[in-house]
Every structure is written in structure tokens, then in C-alpha cells.
């Protein structure tokens, strides 16, 4: 399945790496390693992206227009590319968060409890 199609398909959930990368960029612009560290921290170590998975995900997000690439600013390491969430990317992330919220409400309505 092509990534573009998956992103544009309404109602389809995002994969965990995509979700956490978008979440990390929703806070501020970041470069590759910064994203990798933030994803690991915010997922409490459950999602560990390697360099390969990270750049495969970033390329898919760029192709789908969910993020953009920024040129390094003055005084920044010229080798590092920074990434920024686009309004479309923010929309996808908001949609995913709403889906999660609905799932929690649904589970709460059925009096389901998360077992530890």
C-alpha cells in the first residue's frame, strides 16, 4: 500500500512511528536525531526508531506533504536538516488524537478497564 494513499484515506489510523514523529514535530521543528530521541522518550521507550526506519518514515511524510524540510539556519550544523509539521500534518495528527479520544470514550462507556 502506498503511503500517500494511506495518509489520504480518511479514518485510517496512523502507524506508531508516524504518530510519534508527527507528535514530536508538533511541539517544535527538529532534526533527525532530536526526533529519534523525542519519540523514544514520549513513547516511554516502546518505540525505538533506528536511523533507517526514521528516514524511511520522514521520506514518506515528506512525500505525503505532512512535513517539510527546512534549511539549517545561521549558526546551525549545515549537515543537519530540520523538519517542520505542515498544516496537513497537524490535521492528520489531530484526526488521530480524536480517534484515540473516541476509542477511550467508547471503552469508558462499556465500562472496560485497562488491566495493568
Amino acid at each position: 500500500m502506498s503511503r500517500g494513499r494511506q495518509f489520504s484515506k480518511p479514518g485510517s489510523p496512523l502507524t506508531a512511528p508516524v504518530f510519534y514523529v508527527l507528535l514530536s514535530l508538533s511541539i517544535r521543528d527538529r532534526h533527525g536525531y532530536d526526533i529519534l530521541k523525542h519519540v523514544e522518550e514520549s513513547s516511554e521507550g516502546r518505540i525505538r526508531l533506528g536511523p533507517g526506519t526514521l528516514y524511511t518514515t520522514l521520506k514518506r511524510l515528506l512525500d505525503a506533504g505532512l512535513i517539510t524540510e527546512l534549511r539549517p539556519g545561521p549558526g546551525e550544523d549545515a549537515r543537519r536538516r530540520n523538519y517542520r509539521l505542515t498544516s496537513r500534518g497537524r490535521g492528520e495528527l489531530t484526526g488521530e488524537l480524536k480517534r484515540m479520544e473516541q476509542a477511550i470514550v467508547l471503552a469508558g462507556g462499556r465500562r472496560l478497564q485497562v488491566r495493568s
Binding site: 526506519t53 549537515r79 543537519r80
Partner: protein, 199 residues
Amino acid sequence: MTARWAVRLYGLVVAIYPRRLRKEYGADMKLVFNDLLEDPNMSRRRTWSIVLSDIVDLIGGLWLGPLFGFLVVLIWWVVRSDIYPFDPNLGLVLIAALFVAAGFTGTRRSGSFAGGMGAGFVAGLISAITVPGDYWLFGTFPFYDAISFVGTMAISAAVVMLLVTIGSELATFKTHRGRMRRGIWAFVGAWRRDSELSP
């Protein structure tokens, strides 16, 4: 291993990624790997375990179909060449199991039925090399004419895709087990009612 050698070794890992990704992001990937090595909170062992899981993901995503296809070709070659005494029937069973496994693992890894079918399709395409291979290596061409060739290939492809579908179906069985059970019971119920109504 020194950091310099680790970076060189990672350069070899980067070489197995698709050319487009490598060309565009190869340098960035090496830079991130270097950052991982220099991170005081990250042990060398953990860094390599991340790289290893990356490779497993890559193989799972890109090379799963070809991997199963080449295994099928390997079994065919062992059976046909008599390099090792191998029961041809067992070879057939193993090849069938490989196609089921291609569908199963493809579905599991990609998280979609289509992913499993895709992996099985690629495995089937690669294993089709056994037909000209049989002719070139062992001089056999068991087809009478073009129609028998096309017909046999079409039936073989259908059998292969059926096996792949079984594999993909098995991987998603848990998710629609209930629906299948209801379907079977509905069929049994209709059949019973039909038997009772008939004179």
C-alpha cells in the same frame, strides 16, 4: 570496536537500503548513527540492537517476497540436481509451506492482507524461474505447445496464490474468527432447514 570502525561498519548497513533512500538520506543516517554512538545515555550494545531491529524491519518490508522465492528455487534445485538425496514429495510439501509462510509473514509484518498477498506474489514470480531453469539446467520442458505452457503456468500461479491466500488468511484469522464461525453456522443451519423441508 572503536567509534570509527562502528561508523564504517554502519556504512555497509546503509548500503543495503534502497538506492533512492540511500542517495537522499544516507549521510543523514550515518550522522544519526554517529549521534547514537556519542550519546552518553546510549550503550554501544543498545545502539547496535536498534540498528539490528532496523535491518530486520528492512528485510521484512522489502526482501520478504524475494527471500521466500529464493528459498523455493533453492529447494527445487536441491531436489532436481540430486546434489543431496531429497524426497521430491517432501520438496513439494516444503515449497507449498513456504508459500503459505510468505503470505503469513507478509501479512503479519505489513499489518495488511494485501501486504501478505504482495510478498507471496513476489515469491511466486521469483520461483517461476524454475520453469526455464528446468530447461536450461536439466533439459526438460514438459509442455506440448504454447497453450499447454500458458495453461500450466496459469494453474501453477493459481495454486501458488491460493497457498499465499491461506497463509495471509491464517495471519488475520484471529481478527475475523467470529465472523467465520457465524458464517459456518449460518451455512449449517440453512443446510439443516433445507434437509428438513425436502420430502
